[in-house]
Structure formats: C-alpha cells, structure tokens
C-alpha cells in the first residue's frame, strides 16, 4: 500500500442554473480515483455551494497513482430523474509523486463539460502521502522527473546525459467502438479523454522505468504525441532524453556568480583524499590502455528497442530512485555547485571503464570496489591527458574519439531530444538528418504488443542513425518525431542534427561519471599547485581542453561549425573553407540544424524567421496506390523545400539555419510542406554569395532585360536585408578563403513539376554550396513566378523581429513583458482547376497574411520579437487548410541594443547577467589579453549584475508593466479607476520558451500534459466555427493556468500545443475539436524582487580569484 491520496472538496462558484424553476442548482460532487468513488452531500439551492467536505482517502499503489487521473464530477441532484452532470475536472496527480515538485494541489479549477465548455469553478485540495517502500516489486517509477523543456532545466545541473528513451502504447479509440453508436457524444468524449489520460499516465510510468534502469533520475525534452489513427486505433508515443540531474542549491540559483565559496569548501575533501599517492601517479600508465579496451555495457540497448520494457528484469536490479543519490552522497555536495565551465575543462573518461557498475548486483561492496578502481583509471588517464598538453594530443584525441564513438554506438539510438546544451557539450555539428516513411495503417490487433508501430519507428531511427554516421557523427541532437495521418495513410517523420558530442556528460548510466570528472582534473590541479587557484590553471576553456586533450584547440565560438566528417571522403559534395573565426579548421559554406543557436556561437547581426512553403497536388487514391504516389512525391517536396530555404537564406545574406522543422502534411488530394527555421549569419562561416539568375533563352532581348531587372531586384533585396538584419561581417583578406569558383556543371535546377524525370531525383544535389553565387535557372514562367514569390516575403514591420528558436540571435536585453498566443486559421481553397502554382500562391498568402495579422495585433508591444514561432499545418478536409501558430511576443529595450552594439563586451556581460546559469561567457573573443583582464572581470560582472537589478532597468521594468494596456492607460488618464481589489485570480504566465525574461525560475513543479475534447451541436449559436474554437482555446488556456496555480506555480514554460484537430459539419450545425497541450509548471521570481533577498556582494567581490574561473570560462 504505497500511497494514500487525500481529496477535499471545498466549494463551488458560478455554477450554471440547472433548475429552471428555481433558477438554482442542487449540486454535489463525485470524487473518483481508480475504481473508488466518494460523494459529497448535496448542497441545495445554490450557485455557490460550500461543501467543505471531509478528506476523501484513497489507498492505492503507486502504479495506479501514476496512471490514473483524479476525476471530479460535479452533478445536479434530481429527486425524480437521473442526476444531471454539470461538468468534470481531471487532475493529474503526478507532480505530487516526487519530492522536489509540488506538495499540495489546491485551488479553483474550471468545471469543464465537453459539450458546454467551462461551467463554473470548484475549489479542491489534493494531497498524497507516499510510504517509502524501497524493496517493493517495482512497476512504478515515482520520483522520476519529467520536463518538456529541451534544455537542462534552469535550477538543475546535468551530472550525466544518458540518452534516448522512447515508448509507445496503443489502444482502441473509443470514438470508433461499437458502443459509440448508442452513447451520447458527451459520454463518448469523456471516455476518450479519460482513456488518453490513462494512456499518457501509463506511458510516462513506463518511460520512468526505463529511466531508472538507465540510472537516470529525469527525462528532459519529453515529447508526448497522439496519433489518432481512426479505425485502427489510438497511439500515444513519447520520446525524451534521460539525464541525471542535480538540483542546484538555492543560493547558487539566486547568486550564480558567487558559488565559489561553496566550491572552496567542497574542494577540501579532495585535499584530504585518503589515497594521496594516486595524485602523483605518472602522466602515463599502462592502465590507460585497459580503459579503452573495456567493452561497453549492453544493458541499455536491450530495452531501447522494444517498447515494452521487460519489467520482470527490473525489480531486483534497479535501484530505488534514491539509489544513485545514496552513492553520491560523499561527493554530491561538492558537485551541486560545480560550475559548468569547470566541467568543460574536465577530461572525460570512458563510461565503459565503469562496467562493473552496470551489472545487476548493486551491492555496496561491489560499488566501493568499482569506485576505487575507477579512481585509479581516471587518475592515470588524466595524468596522461595533462602530459599531452599542447599539440601532442593527436593520438590521444583519436583514442578518445573512438572510445566516445563506441560508447555511443553501443546504444541503439544515440539521440538527444535536447536543443540547447551545456557549454562544451556540442563539439561539431554535421547538419540536418531526416527520414520519412509512408505506411498504411492497419488495425492494431493486440494492444499489448504494438510491434508494428514499434518496428516502423525503429526503422526510421535506424535510418537517421546511418545518415548521421555518413556525416561522420556519432550522435543526433535536436531530435524529434512526428506523424501526419490521412485516412489509412500515415507519414512518419523523424529529424535531427548530426553531431559530435563531448562525451564527458555521457557516462553510461553511472554516477561515477561525475566523480570521475572531479578526479580527472583534480590531480592536475594539485600538481600545478593549489595555492594558485584554478584561475591560473584554467585561464581559458580552450587551453584547458587542449591541455586535457579533448580536442585540438577549438575556439568555443566556432568549434561546432567545424566539419566532423572527413574532408577527403565527404558524404556529399560541399564547399569547404577554413573557418573564418579560427582559420584552423574547415567549415561548410552553409549550416542547417534543428537545434537552438548555441550560446557560445559568434553571430553577426540579428536573425530572422525563414519559411519555405509548398503544395503538391496528388490524385485521390486508395490504400497502396495512395501510399505509393505519396512516396513518389516526397523526395520532390524535400528537394524543393530545401531549395526554397536556401534561396531565402541567401536572399537575407545569411549562412546558417537553426531550429529547422520541416513538416509534411498529407491530405486527400494534396501534400503540403512547411519548413520553418531561424536564419543567422555565423561569423565562422563564409559570406554567402548572392543569387544569380540565368535565363534559358539567351537570344531574346526583352527577356534578357526582364532577367536583368529581376537580378537587380534580388540584389537590392539582399542589400536591404543586410541592412535590416545588421549583417556587416568584417572584411577578410582573400587568400585565406578557398577557391570559390562557380562550377557551372553543379548548378542546381529548380524542379518544376511531377513530370520531371525521376532519374534526377536520385541525383538530388542538396549541396548548393559548390558555387559562390547561387544560380537560379529560369526555364519557364513557373520558375519566374517562383522567383517572384521569393521576393514577396515581406519583412516584418519595423520594430518587429521573429524567430522560431528560443532566443533571437542579436537581441539580449529583454524586458519582462510577454504575450503568448495561439492563432488558428482555416481556409478554403477554391476547388476549380487547382494547379500547384495557384495552390502554392494561396498557401504562401495564407502564411504571410497570418504573420502580418500577428504583427498588427501585437503592434502595441513594439519593439518586440516573436520567439519560438511554431506553425502547424493540417488538411482536415478536401479543400481546407488549417494553420495553427503558437508563439510568444517579448518586448526588448531598443536603447540598450544600441549601446550593446557599440560595446560588445558590455553586451555579453549583460547577456551573462540575464542568463546566469548558462555561463556562456567566453571572454576569449572579447578580451585580447584574457590573462590580464580576467581577474577584473568577475568583479565587474557582479557590479554589472547589481546595477542591472537595482538601477534604471528596474524602473523601466516597472514602467513597462504599467503600459501593458493602452486601454487602461487611456482610462487611467482621465478617471480614477477602482481596481477589482477582491480579485483572487493569480496571474499565470505561459510561454513556449524555457525561460521568462527578467525572471529566475526557482522551482519546477511538474509536467502539465492535458488533453481536451470539445464538441457542439449548436455551432451557429456559439458564434460559428471561429466563436467555437476561440472559446475552446481560451478554455484550454484557462484550465492550464488553473492547474499551474493550484500547484502553487505562476508560469508554464516550454508550453506547446501539440495537437489541434478541428472538424466541422456546418450542415448539421456541429463541430468537434481535440487539443493536446503540455509544458512545465514553474515558480519564477522577478529579478527585481530578487534584489530584496539578502545578497552579499562583498563576499563575492572579495574573492575574485576563485570566482574568476567560474565566471569567465
């Protein structure tokens, strides 16, 4: 009996009138969990009942706690007939199941009915008493934390990033069961909501089990999706990245710049190491070879392939969630305050060396043994590492790489759903890898063995993996999966960014990964002399890493751009030059990625949202014929989307794309492709050449004229864009640059139509990098139109920027005002004589108009940036296109931008102070003489931080808060306005980003994952489709906010609307919509409020040397 769930129903308010005669309601509440139901008394004749019930107690095991939602139903008592349901509240109690999240859920919840929407509110208190029962047969995974955030959550530190986890569960869709014919729409909707809630609970629990098996304690970048396969069933699938996270202590979370005192403390134990002689071990010992020859453990490849974890294996071998922490205790206080840059400077050692720990016998004896064993190895290797300082790291590097590679390869899928990484994690980026496959859906016969769906995904992932390998990469980051379903055809897509990772974080499932880190640099540290402090020893990350032989000196600002593949044996034709930043390594001319811009990247100017949009008609067909025609179209679409992206990128004078997301949507008679990404100019990559137009009929004079006119227009646009996005790269001497001679043979042609021979498809030349100027060949009027459409993308109005990544490159001085929104449009395409061209134009206009209308709506926030702009396209019916956009508008301070541009050093420091935990400061690029300037830097930074908290910005912040409403302002001017002082509703911010500008997240309260269905049979009366969906989305927001507030939170970060399936039948006056949203509930504190907390800058300033290493590297 591992848990007791306690629920108290306090009161209701604003209930609907259920009794027409009295205009009142006799309400009571049913509280259901699993198969147990409790009821409150009837509170007669009131719309604001005060039940004040006793505590209803459910004694349940924790497996049930994880799977089941708490179900609260409000009913109207009727003496003579059946009681009428008013509505329901589903509460996911998962956040109460792990210690660091919420402890109680208490607050007002909207009472929701799938037919009527929100009908009043109910006040509920929920608590869980978990009994510790460490030896129980383990089917549950209570205690594993889940985060939607695709980076290491702000108040945590990644000890180890273990890797990919996936799972899927299937069931029959209640909507398609026979019983659905005889039950009411309400009953059917509720059955569906409940089932999906149960399935996602089960899925999360199963994922949690895998996490525990991998010795992790958290899933980051958790993405759960539903596939509504219609007749063939309902699939709920999830992917994520398993990590071992360490909570940063409050002090360091609040005062990230001054964690040095605690660090000094933690270093003492190492001084008093019981085996001092290990420190003196020589630079190189035979042991090191052993290290590399250890064969990696296979324990994880076993379960990652099957979606059903073999539970019978786990009970004895898997440690309790506290297990790893117990082992950690001697060192964990030490580690909790470790600063990222220090880790960066650490040498990684192979996880494979720690194999004994992977064995299923987790007994203290074995553990101890393995620890000491590890130490020796580590010391040996690190000694060697320091010996190979400088340029001699070659063989070591190779070894290291091999070993990393093998460590990753032994995992079935070395994938990471993260898009932002701890500094130094990303070594090289190869490029985007993606795979799609078209499948015919068939009925899932046995829901307990969803093998086909599993096999489908396994196939795709395998493909992704091999693509990555072809790019010379052993891992895929920014990985995501998606589906598009139309009738019985399903397109499965996966994409990510091939990358080479610094294996330091990837120690295979062992806690010693971190221990090892500490030890690995510690000896070096002491051998140099502890009195000097780390600053002397690790003056810069570059030196330390080369010192330890991780990589050749790769400057942090450009290292990730350097090609990971072999120059002489390139996977595809590419145009390479020496890096424009360090001049040491080769870089490609263009870089596409699915991740966020690494914080350390050196960017010139600002970024912008770039979209490629494409429609392709296809014949209506059945089953296999349909699937075949879709498969045939896909490569054309991919190619064209890629070409469009490349053209638009060049048109903006930029050379890299981040956050690339290509969505291909299948409808009955067409396919749509929408790619969104954020274009930037990376300083490390060469300046992109322009776009050159070539005509096909050279002897026609007017034609020539036309061409040259277009060419001029294009050139003008490029020039204008460079100015707009402030792209002014420094002039470079020619000789460094390679030989950028355009090769006419390598011209890429725009594919016009399906009639194009398929031979060409097989030789798709995706590398437009061969030539300096990108050549567009115009061979017919269609191509002409394409060039025109290229030029029609209007830049955002002045004062607006937009991107689909977390932050806008080039803007750092955010003010706290944010506005998250969802906009949905459904458009009917004329059904007469549709051609690909008119379709393309319509689709393009639809997207452009939508963006325009967003800019117009948010004009009062200028200057502002639309961040994380996320478009999703659906084709709900024959001629209908649905586009949903979710994004957040964030204001920023224009004046500060100007200042920052003048003084880049200041700018980066501002950045540092707004994003303290990231520790992105790479002073190398900023200070010509890092050694000299370093001691002064930290102090300066602290001062900077202090002024930014107390000085003008705070005042500006206050001012900007007030100006949120032009209306309020207007009224306030001439009349005194009494505010609604009795307002009890707390404000909950929502954002698709992982952070809140000007605020510090102090606590993660748990994941929010909600699924709602809304249906109406009186569509006209509810204001038509727009009225219906507007109300529904507002209701979804309200329910999300209510849940967050009840958890004690004041914001949702990494919010995402994963699904919005809208169906209408205007003839029947009916509509139905399904929405699935998720995010992380958090508590944040404004930085302006933080300054109230006792800050002791004196202690910080007084220890500049020790904090110097922290802050500056």
């Amino acid at each position: 009996m591992p848990g007791k769930l306690k629920v108290k129903i306090v009161a209701g308010r604003h209930l609907p009138v259920m009794d027409r005669a009295s205009d009142l309601t006799d309400a009571f509440v049913e509280v259901k969990f699993g198969n147990t139901t409790f009821k409150t008394d009837v509170y007669p004749k009131s719309l604001n009942p005060q039940w004040n019930s006793e505590w209803f107690k459910f004694e349940v095991d924790d497996e049930e706690l994880q799977d089941e939602p708490l179900q609260i139903t409000v009913l109207d008592h009727d003496t003579y007939s059946a009681n009428d349901a008013i509505g329901k509240v589903y509460i996911d109690i998962d956040p109460l199941l792990y210690s660091e999240a919420a402890t109680v859920i208490s607050g007002w919840f909207p009472i929701y009915d799938t037919i009527h929407g929100i009908r009043g509110e109910i006040n509920v208190v929920v608590k869980v008493d978990l009994f510790n029962d460490l030896n129980r047969f383990r089917q549950s995974s209570c205690g594993v934390k889940f985060f939607c955030t695709t980076s290491i959550p702000k108040c945590y530190r990644a000890v180890i990033i273990h890797g990919f986890v996936e799972e899927l569960v299937v069931n029959e869709d209640p909507e398609y069961q026979w019983i659905d014919r005889i039950r009411t729409p309400r009953a059917s909707n509720e059955a569906r909501q409940r089932l999906i809630s149960l399935m996602s609970g089960e899925l999360q629990r199963k994922i949690g089990l895998k996490v525990l098996e991998m010795r992790g304690n958290a899933v980051v970048g958790y993405l759960q999706c539903f596939d509504l396969e219609g007749e063939s069933g309902l699939v709920v699938r999830a992917i994520g990245t398993v990590c071992t996270l360490d909570k940063l202590s409050n002090t360091s979370a609040f005062l990230p710049a001054c964690n040095s005192p605690s660090k000094e403390m933690k270093e003492i134990p190492f001084n008093e190491d019981p085996n001092p002689n290990t420190h003196s071990s020589g630079p190189s010992t035979p042991l090191k070879n052993q290290t590399y020859s250890f064969s990696p453990s296979k324990s994880y490849s076993r379960q990652s392939s099957s979606s059903d974890t073999d539970l019978s294996l786990t009970p004895k071998t898997a440690p309790s969630p506290q297990g790893p922490r117990i082992f950690l205790f001697p060192s964990s206080p030490t580690l909790s305050c470790d600063s990222p840059h220090l880790k960066k400077s650490c040498l990684l050692l192979s996880g494979s060396a720690l194999n004994p720990l992977h064995s299923s016998h987790v007994s203290p004896v074995v553990l101890r043994k393995s620890v000491s064993f590890t130490e020796e190895l580590l010391l040996a290797a690190s000694g060697m590492g320091s010996g190979s300082a400088g340029k001699e790291g070659g063989p070591f590097k190779t070894l290291l790489r091999q070993q990393t590679q093998s460590a990753l390869e032994q995992r079935e899928f070395p994938f990471f759903t993260l898009t932002t990484f701890p500094p130094g994690f990303l070594v090289h980026v190869g490029g985007v890898v993606s795979a799609r496959s078209v499948k015919l859906l068939d009925r899932i016969h046995n829901p307990d063995e969803p093998e086909t769906r599993d096999a489908w995904w396994a196939e795709i992932r395998q493909e992704i993996k091999s693509h990555a390998k072809a790019l010379g990469c052993h891992a895929v980051v920014g990985y995501s999966e998606s589906t598009s379903i139309c009738e019985e055809v399903c397109i499965l897509s996966a994409s990510g960014t091939a990358a080479v990772l610094n294996p330091r974080f990837l120690q295979d499932g062992t806690v010693e990964g971190c221990l090892e880190q500490r030890l690995s640099w510690q000896p070096g540290f002491f051998s140099i002399g502890s009195e000097k402090g780390e600053v002397d020893f690790f003056p810069q990350s570059q030196d330390s890493s080369s010192l330890l032989g991780i990589e050749e000196a790769s400057p942090p600002g450009c290292g990730f751009c350097h090609i990971p593949y072999d120059e002489l044996n390139m996977p595809f034709p590419a145009h390479l030059t020496y890096c424009y930043n360090c001049r040491k390594q080769k870089v490609p001319d263009v870089l596409f990625t699915t991740i966020d811009l690494p914080v350390e990247a050196i960017v010139i100017g600002k970024g912008c949202l770039i979209q490629a949009r494409l429609c392709r008609l296809k014949k209506k067909a059945q089953a296999e014929a349909n699937a075949t025609s879709i498969s045939n179209l896909l490569p054309f679409m991919e190619y064209e989307v890629h070409t469009q992206l490349m053209n638009k990128l060049k048109l903006r004078g930029m050379n890299a794309l981040f956050g690339l997301r290509i969505q291909i949507t299948v409808g009955e008679n067409m396919l749509m492709g929408l790619a969104s990404a954020t274009g930037v100019y990376l300083a490390a990559l060469p300046t992109p050449g322009g776009i050159q137009i070539a005509g096909k009929t050279p002897n026609d004079g007017t034609y020539e004229q036309h061409i040259s006119h277009m060419q001029k227009k294009i050139n003008d646009t490029i020039a204008k864009n460079k100015e707009l996005y402030e792209i002014n790269p420094p002039e470079l001497p020619e000789e460094i640059i390679g030989s950028p001679i355009p090769e006419p043979r390598q011209r890429s042609r725009l594919l016009r139509s399906q009639s194009e021979s398929s031979d060409e498809v097989t030789e798709l030349d995706l590398s437009h990098g061969k030539k300096d100027a990108f050549v567009l060949e115009i061979d017919d009027t269609d191509a002409m139109e394409d060039v025109h459409s290229l030029l029609t993308d209007a830049p955002p109005p002045s004062g607006f920027y937009s991107c689909n990544t977390e932050i806008m490159p080039g803007i750092s001085n955010w003010t706290p005002e944010i506005q998250m929104f969802t906009a949905v449009r459904v458009s009917r395409l004329g059904n007469i004589n549709l051609t690909n061209q008119t379709l393309n134009k319509n689709f393009n206009d639809l997207c452009e108009n939508l963006l325009k209308s967003l800019y117009f709506k948010l004009r009062s926030m200028v200057p502002c940036c639309l961040c994380h702009v996320n478009f999703t396209v659906a084709l709900p019916e024959d001629e209908l296109v649905q586009i949903a956009v979710t994004a957040v508008a964030i204001t920023f301070d224009k004046n500060q931008t100007l200042q920052a541009n003048k003084a880049p050093t200041e700018k980066s420091q501002q950045r540092a102070s707004t994003d303290n935990e990231e520790q992105l400061q790479f002073p190398l690029e900023l200070c010509p003489d890092p050694l000299a300037s370093q001691p002064s830097l930290p102090a300066k930074e602290v001062l900077e931080g202090a002024t930014s908290q107390t000085g003008i910005p705070a005042a500006q912040r206050a001012a900007s808060l007030d100006k949120t409403s032009p209306l309020a302002e207007g009224y306030l001017r001439h009349r005194s306005v009494p505010s609604c002082t009795n307002s009890t509703v707390s404000v909950v911010k929502m954002t698709p980003l992982s952070f809140l500008p000007g605020a510090k997240i102090t606590k993660y309260l748990g994941i929010i994952n909600m699924f709602f269905i809304r249906e109406t049979t009186s569509l006209r009366e509810e204001g038509g489709v727009s009225g219906f969906l507007h109300a529904f989305i507002a209701e979804v927001f309200a329910m999300v906010r209510a849940h967050v507030a009840a958890l004690g939170g004041n914001a949702v970060v990494s919010y995402i609307m994963k699904q919005c399936v809208f169906m209408e039948n205007p003839n029947k006056n009916q509509a139905q919509c399904l929405i699935n949203v998720s995010g992380d509930a958090v508590i944040f504190v404004r930085e302006s409020e933080l300054e109230m907390l006792p800050v002791q800058p004196s202690t910080v300033v007084s220890q500049p040397t020790s904090s110097g290493g922290d802050v500056t590297t």
Partner: protein, 328 residues
C-alpha cells in the same frame, strides 16, 4: 481563398481601446472597420484591409464573450477564462457601464420596463446614439436597478460594491435608480431645461436628506425610495400653505428677515416660493440662497407650527435642489 475560421487567443486577453469603444457604440464589424480605416490606421501600421477586418472581428468576438461577464463585474474579476490585469478589468467595466447623459435624461423617471425598451428607437433617433448602444445602456440601468432593488443601505455604495464602478459613476446610477423608483415626472416641458447632471444632483440631495439611509444608516427600507412615512408626514406641512393665517405669518417673518438684504425684495413678496418667477425676475443665486435659508428657519418663530424638524428636513432637500436647478 477565404478564411472560414480565423482566431487569435492571447494568454493575456488582448484588448484594443479604440475597438472596444466602437463596439460599445454599437457599430457592426464592417462599420467599425471603415471607421478605423478613416482614422488612418492603415497608413500608420502599413497593413492591409483584410488584416484590419480579421483583427476587428477577433476583438468583437472577444467582447461578445466578455459581455456575459460584464453583466456581473465581480465575476469578471473572479473568472478564470480570460486573463486580464485588474486595471484593465476596471477599465472594461467602466467603459461598459458608461452612458450617454442625454439618454439617461430621456429615461429618467420612466419605468425601466419592456415598454420603455420598445421606445428606445425614438430615443435613439433623438439622441443620435445607435439603437444597440441605447439598448446596452438601458439594460445596464435595468440591471443595476434590479440588483439593488431589494437591498438595504446607501444606494451609491451598494452599486459601487455590486458593479465595481468608480464612485462618481456609481452615484449617477444611484440617481437613475432613485428616479426610476420614485417615478418623478422629469419629462414635463417645464423641466426640460434641466440636464441629467442637474437631476442627478437633485436626486442625491433628496436621497441625502429625505431617505431612511440619511436618518439611520442601517435603515430597514431600501435607500432608493423616499420613505412612505416621510411622505405621509409631509402632509402635515400643508398647513403652512393651506392655513391662511400661518402663511401670512410665515411670509411676513421671511420678509422682515430679508429686508435690505435682497436686491429684488419687491418681487420676492409677490413671487413667494416659485422658481420660475425668480428666474424671470433675474434673481441672483445668492439671493435665492438667502431667501431659502430664511424661508426654512422662519417657521421656528411661528406659533402653533409643530413640525419644525420635518420642515427643515424637507426644506434642506428642496433648497439644495432649487439651488441646483436655478441656472440659465
């Protein structure tokens, strides 16, 4: 390519002051769009008509959804559906309950019934307000009237509490409720020169002096009514007029008290206690004030007049009203 569905939902409800006013004024979406166009918005923001249409529709839809909540302002503050910062909530409420004095003047003293509502098209024609705006304002009057009808206590405060209105607006509503309750015939031709502001001020004076609330704050009867007992008592005061003897005495007392102080003494004697004549004789406001003061206190010296307290309470209200009404 037409957009069937086109919505924008912000986590913080987006409200455009200008569009809200257009909505309150009762314009349709297309009328509002053309008004916004005329305002030169297109040039300023560099956007297109279709964007403006979509934006206007969106706002109007939001306002329609909010309207239900605006009928009960405390609910607007408690509801969870729309996240609106409190100052903006207050502004929304205030905007919704603001009314055109001309319309209020027309409706003052009328029964707030369906019949009156049917006459709104005439009112709309006379005031130049759109019928929709008239209806909204009429419904507001009626809603406020209904809400406080049965309640006890000072009217303006009650309204402030229940509708979260700023004090001046709440006082105006109190006046409307007072007139609707007591059904004063403010529509008479002779009173046409009085504005809503005049009458509202009078109502406040009358409530201030005559109602139960004025005497005992925790009065048993609603404040919007002049208590029946008071009206009953007033009959007693008729002796001052009906009793020839008393009237003459009163008159002479007032005259003697004011002799030399009032410039229009001669006229006063003849025009005793009528407002219109004073106007035609060009009394100054100060003169009137003196006269009324004296008129009120004079009966103290009258033998056989036993209702001095009642008289003074009556006269305090009347005097204040007369003074207010006495303008060009």
């Amino acid at each position: 390519m037409t957009s069937d569905l086109d919505i924008f939902v912000g986590n913080t409800t987006l409200i455009d002051e200008e569009v809200y006013q257009l909505w309150l004024d009762g314009y349709t979406v297309s009328e509002a769009v053309s008004r916004r166009l005329r305002g030169g918005l297109l040039e300023r923001s560099g956007t297109s008509v279709s964007v403006l249409q979509s934006d206007t529709r969106d706002h109007f839809r939001t306002f329609q959804m909010l309207e239900r909540l605006l009928h009960s302002p405390p609910r607007l503050c408690q509801q969870l559906l729309f996240q609106i910062p409190p100052p903006r909530q207050a502004a929304l409420i205030q905007g919704y309950y603001a009314f055109e004095p001309a319309l209020a003047r027309e409706l003052l003293g009328k029964k707030l019934s369906k019949g009156t509502k049917k006459e709104l098209d005439e009112v709309s024609a006379r005031t130049g307000l759109s019928l929709r705006a008239c209806r909204r304002q009429f419904d507001n009057f009626k809603r406020v009237f209904k809400a406080v009808e049965e309640l006890k206590g000072p009217l303006a405060e009650l309204i402030q509490q229940h509708f979260l209105l700023p004090p001046p607006l709440a006082r105006d509503y109190a006046a409307i409720v007072f007139f609707a309750n007591s059904r004063f015939e403010t529509g008479k031709r002779r009173l046409q020169f009085l504005s809503f502001g005049d009458l509202a001020a009078c109502a406040q004076h009358m409530m201030g002096h005559w109602t139960q609330g004025a005497m005992t704050p925790e009065a048993a009867e609603p404040d919007g009514d002049v208590p029946r007992s008071f009206l009953q008592d007033l009959k007693e005061l008729k002796v001052l007029v009906s009793d020839k003897d008393l009237l003459d005495q009163h008159k002479s007392l007032v005259c003697s008290a004011l002799r030399g102080k009032i410039s229009v003494y001669n006229e006063m004697e003849t025009n005793f206690k009528v407002l219109d004549p004073c106007r035609s004789d060009h009394w100054s406001l100060g003169d009137l004030r003196l006269f009324l003061g004296s008129y009120t206190t004079a009966p103290r010296a009258l033998g056989g007049f036993r209702h001095q307290l009642l008289w003074e309470r009556y006269m305090a209200g009347i005097s204040a009203c007369l003074l207010r009404m006495y303008h060009e």
